[in-house]
Symmetry: D2
Subunit: 391 residues, 4 copies
């Protein structure tokens, strides 16, 4: 192996982290805990891991929390931790979508930094209220659009910002999976149940769960806002209550056009998030399942295979890189980068400094955009695809 | 190498072929001549290769035609050949789009078989008139949607027809190129000039040139008709007169939905025709630039890499296959298969027999569908993407 | 589509071609006939297609030869054609390996140009005798190492010759298939029978059939001769009489080292010919099953995907290119290029001119090298891998 | 996302870990610390991170160790920690190769579990002595051949053990990089300096650094021991003192044959570890840079793309899997799996139980095999490739 030590190792003490949600049987909570450990920036010390007090306690102890810090609900956690000299400094919120807003507001009120899973809320109203609340507090608010942590996504973003693709013309993003091909929710599969239930998931099914990732990624990478969309949403599985496939046309700032395709019934696709961007000077293509490569084509020249850690990658990517080229980093490392960037922001904020420019992570504005996207898509689809502004 | 002789060799004499268009400097005419030779089913014996008589003569002689059979225009060719005992039996029409209909009608009137490049005509009206004319004649009329000749396209079509994907839900077809990224037509590049000129190309630019291929391929493979579409057409290059990028949403028979993306400004893509189809039992993916493979996923099982000539491929594919697996066949062979299928139809027709079921090639109905597609797309786009029926 | 007419179209009359071998049930004969048609440089007019006279006649007539030119054996063909004003000018020899040398000598004696399938002969002695015979005649002698016809192989060769990879250090070539995984020859499969029979195939099984292709390709592309080798040959299938897998280490000119792996028992590989070359300034990789791409890496820069017809390819490749980038050319086109280059050489020779530098095709020297390779490999393997010179 | 919580979360307290080596500027030490955190099985509490006491102290404190547990050398660490109730239970040894054996022996003598980076030692004698020492102690000894932690490697191993490929015939492993293409060591690059110095690295350069990984992986996956080898080692960079490229032929148990290619001068390859195995019933291919896929071909059937977490993968893979299919796990997760397996073994051993069968990690026997491989390769190469037993 060719390269110097990981630069991701911590300097300074760990940030004390509490968690809301993520108890037994949860998926994304375990992911948050794991990725918070990767760069050793956080110490998981307290939790209100379930809305069922007994389960909350059992989950916390299984994870090695002190018994006293396994709380029956988040309000109890916030109250008790506020009394401790070594109380939590930040909170990860990993509940189902409709249970993001209330605890997030409570954390803000308690002056804690917030790391909230996406989407930010189950409705645009909730999201906007949260945004206002956050604006009044001098805390860090991260929303874990985790795909922003991939080094080659950083590379693409930096190159586009530098004008390497010229004026952007066409953006194509797709996020296709197949795990909801059958009526899993009717068989009681937990992840399927809440994601297809409008009360827990909000108005968007597939568009909320993964469409928002695709949407955020394309705005993140191109630096262009989507201004309007025309959506065709489908529910292919009988008796499913929310969309499981979505075809959306996009009009972006500066005359760019695009399409977004999200599907959870595209058999043979596991987690197929793919982004392609074309400008008048070049084009690019990136695929989440092989995230260490980025295809880059200056117009009139051969396509380059840029690789994480490899020749030709710049500081934006290397900031998010732990190990040398050819040693694949994956989903967890990208997610960890979001945590580590948030840690950097927290340290800056706590030191009374501005967050440095190079610290990049999705925040509450991205969260609000996500809800605007879902809201507009549902409205457009209900009007037979009428072009609808995102507001 | 493992396998028996090519089955594509001829039995019986060659079919005498004339050509209209395709003289000096033409691209597609040379392709037609080449692919007509591959399986030795046709003999190119006469031509009206240019609308400029001197150029027509020079082109013909350069290609080894007898001087007497290098005609100054197609009417002269049809008249003279009709007098010969060894006169032409079939005609390939390879003129620009707006010059397909008139010679095709003349050939039909002369009782000749017709092989017409796509799109069938520059307008739907012309196409419909031609369809009526053909219906009155007992001749073969092929339209060279050449991508139908790929063995793995045949394989996909046969498997879908057999129900292997179950009920089709989602179809995604894209055909993206980058050769019109800049204003080539303003620099006088011949291929660009006529393709971006409404008078010669018809109402569709990119959608006519390559969108029709994508459209025909998806109907051919899925066996489903597109019923309505919503189109967003763009002209990204300043002063370009026809679309160079198109985003189209589709509603197909039996509740399937789809998208079609055609672009000639997607930098880094050469001839990126890609088709993906998803049903409730499985999914598939095929990419024209690597045409010998077909990804096939029965739901709940690993993806298979089916290969031309390889294990698991059936008679529909092997009919279109010349050489063993691993010895790549490409664009020209697929195109040649269209010619060879047309030859089989001609032989059957000339023998007074029905064309056998297994002989498959695109005909005038496909050609008319292509014009319906272009017409509906242009209309929908002019109405801000209103859903528009194909009629 | 973006580009001008195929440049491969003929100027001048076709070269009259006879064929020895390649009758009913043969594989490679049909391929030769097909590829000879592709660029319209040859006209197939006579044949001694089988050593069984009746079969020879039947095969010839099925292919449309005049009855008088379906000869019962090659001597009869040479004698009769010599008397015709329109007699054959060149002969394709497509018999099993051990039947190449005698007819080739007879053709030479008759002053005919020869296109001989590989390997040149079943023994080095035969090959050397043939080489001497050819040296005395002013005719063209091509050996159909068909992989040399791929445009990206031409591109690689030209770039290496221009020094782009610097001093070559390591060469890795593999040619792996799986069609002899089981004892096909014991089941009577015709292609397997002769290829595993020392009397018909010569001393090499897998190394003769496909190893020679790999060997020739690496010398062709790198421009370096193999000086010595160390071979480990295996026969994995019980009672097989010739090698079905070979591991060979190579020492090349100028200090380069390499390995060659040939296998016909590597399950999952169809026709896996792959070449990688590394020098002190760069590296490259090419794979026959996706022949239109060439990976090219200048040291310290990102890898480029060079594509046939695409940006950055030079005249050596474009000479062998018929259609635009993204429209895949395959095995048959590459093979046709060998025929077309031979045609160019024949035209030059017949016009009393030097064969132009840019006309490139494998000849009798390549054929002799192939036999040296097989001979050295068998000898080395019999001595437990002792390093053995190629002489 | 479709799946339940990561099963890798800890039950029970963390194992207290010390580290020898891995201070400022080290690469692999940081990797060990990171991967030890991933599944939360270990707590890094003490270190002798450098042979320079001041640097050892500084490094330890930067990493958040208590000052008292930042030791100036490993002997001091072992002595002091033995006195603590909360003393270390296991030690990670991440020094250069020649400094593995002595501290490992000292740890064994102290009754501590050992996690040693590979290769086990700089000489076979050292390795054998260590093996004897370990045999006398009831501790766990892991050697971090980290590639064994990849889920699809586990899958391949389990399938081969179950006979799915039949009798193994041919194994092909390559591990090719390009980072030593130029004389980095002469420019003082730290990683290059020690790896090309026989005193620090031992007798093998490239074969020791990466060849041993390739060797171990092929034995691990196939379950077959290499019995003899024939090696050709090269030093392409002027004045380099150890091999930078190696071509090795292998004879394995049960008649299998193979080749191993290791290179650090193959331009365009980053960390190209690739394994292919062929038996009489099937074949497989795996590539480290895209580790979540495994190509699997039952003879006579289409190739399957098996994916980590996807359909058709079994318990051996899922044991090493954290997150759902399509969410790529990479190098660090695979490495973490080695740590987590070692943790499971430690917990079993400490509980006085047998290590369960499903707990799989490379141990001292693998380490010794690695040295046998290097020793035999160097000897064979010095005798012009004579076949040499591994002993």
């Amino acid at each position: 192996m060719a390269i110097e030590a990981s630069k991701a190792e911590r300097s300074g003490g760990r940030i004390r982290l509490g968690m809301i949600g993520g108890g037994e049987g949860a998926f994304i909570g375990a992911v948050h805990r794991l990725v918070a450990r990767i760069d050793d920036q956080f110490e998981f010390v307290a939790g209100a891991l379930s809305s069922t007090p007994e389960k909350a306690r059992r989950s916390g102890r299984a994870l090695g929390l002190e018994p006293a810090r396994c709380y029956p609900d988040y309000r109890a956690m916030l109250a008790a931790e506020a009394q401790r000299a070594d109380g939590i400094e930040a909170v990860a919120i990993v509940t189902p979508n409709h249970l993001h807003a209330a605890p997030a507001e409570a954390c803000l009120a308690a002056g804690l930094h917030v790391i909230c899973d996406k989407p930010l809320a189950a409705s645009l109203d909730d999201a906007l209220r949260l945004q206002k609340a956050a604006a009044r507090r001098d805390v860090v608010f991260g929303v874990t659009y985790n795909y922003t942590g991939y080094p080659m996504i950083r590379e693409a973003r930096a190159r586009i910002a530098a004008g390497e693709l010229g004026r952007i013309r066409v953006v194509n993003v797709e996020y296709i999976q197949d795990w909801l091909t059958t009526a899993l929710e009717q068989a009681g599969q937990k992840q399927a149940v809440w994601r297809t239930d409008p009360k827990q998931a909000g108005a968007g099914g597939c568009i909320g769960d993964i469409g928002t990732h695709a949407f955020q990624l394309l705005e993140f990478v191109t630096g262009l806002e989507v201004e309007a969309l025309s959506a065709d949403l489908q529910r292919f599985v009988p008796r499913r209550r929310l969309d499981d496939n979505a075809h959306i046309q996009l009009r972006l700032a500066k005359g760019a056009r695009g399409t977004l395709w999200a599907s959870q019934v595209a058999v043979g696709n596991e987690n197929g998030l793919r982004l392609r961007v074309y400008g008048d000077k070049g084009g690019m293509s990136w695929h989440q399942e092989h995230p260490n490569q980025l295809l880059w084509t200056p117009y009139g020249e051969p396509t380059r295979i840029l690789s994480r850690g490899g020749a030709g990658t710049g500081s934006a990517a290397s900031r998010a890189t732990r190990i040398p080229a050819g040693h694949p980093e994956g989903y967890l490392e990208a997610f960890a980068t979001v945590y580590t960037e948030i840690a950097a922001a927290i340290r800056a904020r706590d030191a009374g400094k501005r967050v440095p420019r190079e610290v990049v992570f999705p925040g509450i504005a991205d969260g609000v955009r996500g809800l605007r996207f879902v809201t507009a898509a549902v409205r457009s689809a209900s009007r037979d695809g009428r072009w609808t502004k995102l507001g």
